[in-house]
């Protein structure tokens, strides 16, 4: 765990995208913030998706394009009136092009407290092999 104690979180507005895809649902589309890192065996993606339930989250990998999309239901009840509105809810959408070969069978997704952790194992052939040069 490395956290900087003195650092305080800055408020950031969600970045809205004008999606190139046709939408079936009206409302804003946001880009979720992600961390992507790579180990020799896996590619791991961590995304902040507050308000997305496992049922409303779609993860799709096709032709090395990984698509994440999640819908957030209207959070306020019917009789509630706005007093202050600082953030909006809508759909999260983000696409990634993967350069590595991914073992589709081994993909694991975990959603906890609004954070998605997606583990994409690399195909064995794509894991780097150290080549030793023999001296003759």
């Amino acid at each position: 765990m490395t956290t900087n104690e003195s650092k305080s979180l800055q408020a950031r507005e969600k970045s809205e995208v004008s999606s190139s895809m046709e939408q079936t649902r009206p409302g804003p589309v946001f880009t979720p913030t992600v961390d992507i890192f790579e180990t020799p065996e896996n590619l791991t993606l961590v995304a902040d998706l507050p308000g997305v339930t496992p049922d409303d989250l779609n993860i799709d990998l096709k032709d090395s394009i990984l698509t994440l999309s999640g819908e957030v239901a209207q959070e306020a009840g019917k009789d509630e009136q706005d007093i202050l509105r600082e953030y909006r809810t809508g759909t999260y959408l983000r696409e990634f092009t993967l350069s590595e070969m991914i073992d589709q069978q081994g993909i694991e997704a975990k959603l906890k407290d609004g954070v998605l952790t997606l583990t994409l194992p690399k195909v064995k052939a794509a894991t780097p092999r150290k080549v030793t040069v023999k001296a003759t």
């Binding site: 650092k7 790579e38 007093i83 954070v115």
Partner: protein, 155 residues
Amino acid sequence: MLWRHITGEPRWELTRNPFNELDRIRREMDVLREGLSGGQWREAFAGVFPLMNVTEDKNNYYVRAELPGIPSNELDISVTGDTLSVSGEKVVPSEDENAKYHRRERDAGSFSRVISLPGQVDTDEVEAKSENGILTVTLPKAESTKPKQITVKAN
């Protein structure tokens, strides 16, 4: 919606600052305009993490905030009179040394925010829950601030 707000319930109470009401009407207009034009909707923005949405109904105020990756037991919530304060820390665990980062957009750090509600709340009955990274605090309005029906006695 807007029409009902203007004409419907008696909202111009003496205790309310009329400018708040104007603000609220302006916001509702913004919502309408957004609906009509599909344009960008700018909101009052305090610039303090976490961003909050506050709503009310007859009995409660609701404060919501998006706090992904912060388990509810890491949150420190307290209420006094008409202010709510939420503080905590977001921890992004670092991976082992072999990990090479392609992207690192998620921030870690501590936060603390105080928000003033439009009226007094019943501090004993405040409830908070955290679901899918969204914190919802339900604050029942204090009896003294709830609208009261007064019956006129006939002699």
